[in-house]
Amino acid sequence: MEGSISLAMPEGAASPPEPVLELRPNLSFAARNALAARDVREGIGLWRLIWKLGWLDILLRYRGSVLGPFWLTLSTAIMIAALGFLYAKLFHVNLHAYLPFLALSIILWNFLSTLVSEACTCFTQAEGTIRSIRMPFFLYAGRMLVRNVLVLAHNLPVIAAIFLIFSVWPGMAGLYVLPAFALWLVDGIAVAFLLGAFCARFRDVPPIVASVMQIGFFVSPIIWQPTTLSPRWRPLLPINPFYTLLEVVRGPLLGQAPAPVVWLSAVGYSAAICGLSWLLLVRARHRVAFWI
């Protein structure tokens, strides 16, 4: 017995009931629903692993470089500075009003757009692990989300600096960012399940998603302000899910509590995404291993 150890609980009184793995096809919706719920529950239980994997993704990307993950901060800062210079000199825009808006918009949009594009590959990239060990699929979705939240966190100093320079202070309205960001996190997991599974099955979807996101960038008020839109069209803005989902986080940070209709739209679209995602998870969770 030398050279080996028991990593499990000691045998006897305190040992937990043995885990049971049961697989059968043609389950009822309720049974599959329970399995999907279990996937999420067990996945959340692995939060330490998810956090670690997300961190490692960032660290390894920059391992060996002097600045490490702060390259994220620096490259964003350079981009914002260049944009500010460009707009001030070329277009004679009033930077004081515009640059905080632009910086915040671009950083938040980059988060959303990278999240969506990485959601497409969150299962296919984990192919090796999925094929060699049974793990909750939540693990792969969570890892992608953590990674992107950490990238966003590295860009926060840039926003803070811009706000300081232009003395923008969100005030109490800024507190609305908390529920809004929680909504983003839930949506992030939902999008990862939805696109992760869908893109594993249909390899044409990632390019489609990429072009949809690009269109979303131009049709949404990200580099242009909503107020530049003619009053005739402005009431239609909340139809655009990209706008309302962005605005619930951006508005409070700029000191404007989003209008109820914006909230309604953002929550409505989120509910739709979560609903679709859950249906796909219930229906296709057991098939993903065959698709990747």
């Binding site: 050279g3 028991s6 043995e18 793995l21 059968r24 096809p25 090796g128 060990i133 099955r201 291993a289």
Partner: protein
């Protein structure tokens, strides 16, 4: 008590060709109302057909068969990775599947970081992870290399680390794919005792291998898989003889009794 119950399972691999996999084809098929037909006529590889067996504590099952016979697929079903399209699988007990030698191993991380990561994958407590670290470090003899990135390791060190990690757990149900017995000779010598210890500690073993001597020594029962179906199922000697097509020489009684599998594993080492 660990147990495995497999009843009449079938596993199909859908073949998604470049074209049939695309959204275009599915959308077009849906538009022309051929989805149902398409689904029935979908090209699938029948990886497993009508496989059934019951294993209880103490059972040692071997899987033999040519390449593509379904051995690894069956192990993956038992590990809960592929879910069958027909039949029923029920497994009781803590399970470890040794399917991928480099499971979760990241070449850019140091040896120690990889060990900690594996502890997290296994859901181990901080204390158990500490023990895992000590155990793996002692066995793999990495010395100071444990704090260097794995990609700097020699291939021998890499194998030692992977093996030490995989065999540190003491599962009730152990699933082992054939790669595990394919180490280099000098390493197998060292690994033998540890592997045997793990096998002996497991209540149920399911092993896939091409090495007949290992099968003979370790398995009490063998299933011969052929094109996804069980061609024979029974006592190890009997099925192996049918599979090989010749009578096996009797095992040397002394060695077989003293160290099951020892001779088989060090067989390669003897050639040195």
């Amino acid at each position: 008590m660990a147990s495995i119950s497999v009843r009449g399972i079938a596993v199909d691999f859908p073949l998604y060709h470049g074209s049939s996999r695309s959204l275009k084809k599915t959308v077009l098929a849906a538009a022309s109302g051929r989805v149902g037909k398409d689904r029935q006529h979908r090209v699938v590889v029948q990886a497993l057909r009508d496989i059934g067996f019951e294993l209880r504590s103490g059972d040692r099952l071997g899987l033999v068969g040519g390449n593509g016979a379904g051995k690894t697929t069956l192990l993956r079903v038992l590990a809960g990775i592929y879910e069958p399209v027909l039949g029923h699988v029920r497994i009781e007990g803590r399970l470890t599947a040794l399917l991928d030698p480099n499971l979760g191993m990241n070449p850019d991380l140091t040896g120690r970081e990889n060990i900690l990561l594996r502890g997290l994958y296994g859901g181990l407590s901080a204390e158990a992870t500490k023990r895992l670290e000590e155990n793996v470090q002692a066995f793999s003899e990495l010395g100071d290399f444990v704090d260097l990135p794995v990609r700097l390791y020699s291939s021998g060190m890499m194998v030692r680390l992977g093996f030490a990690l995989a065999t540190a757990m003491r599962p009730q149900v152990l699933l082992m794919d054939e790669w595990f017995l394919a180490g280099d000779a000098a390493f197998m010598e060292k690994a033998r005792a540890r592997l045997e210890d793990m096998v002996r500690g497991a209540e149920i073993l399911v092993l896939s291998s091409h090495v007949i001597e290992v099968m003979r020594a370790w398995c009490t029962r063998v299933i011969w898989l052929d094109q996804g179906q069980a061609r024979a199922d029974g006592p190890a000697e009997q099925v192996l003889e049918a599979y090989l097509g010749y009578k096996l020489p009797p095992l040397p009684p002394l060695e077989a009794a003293a160290l099951p599998g020892a001779e088989a594993l060090s067989g390669a080492a003897a050639h040195r």
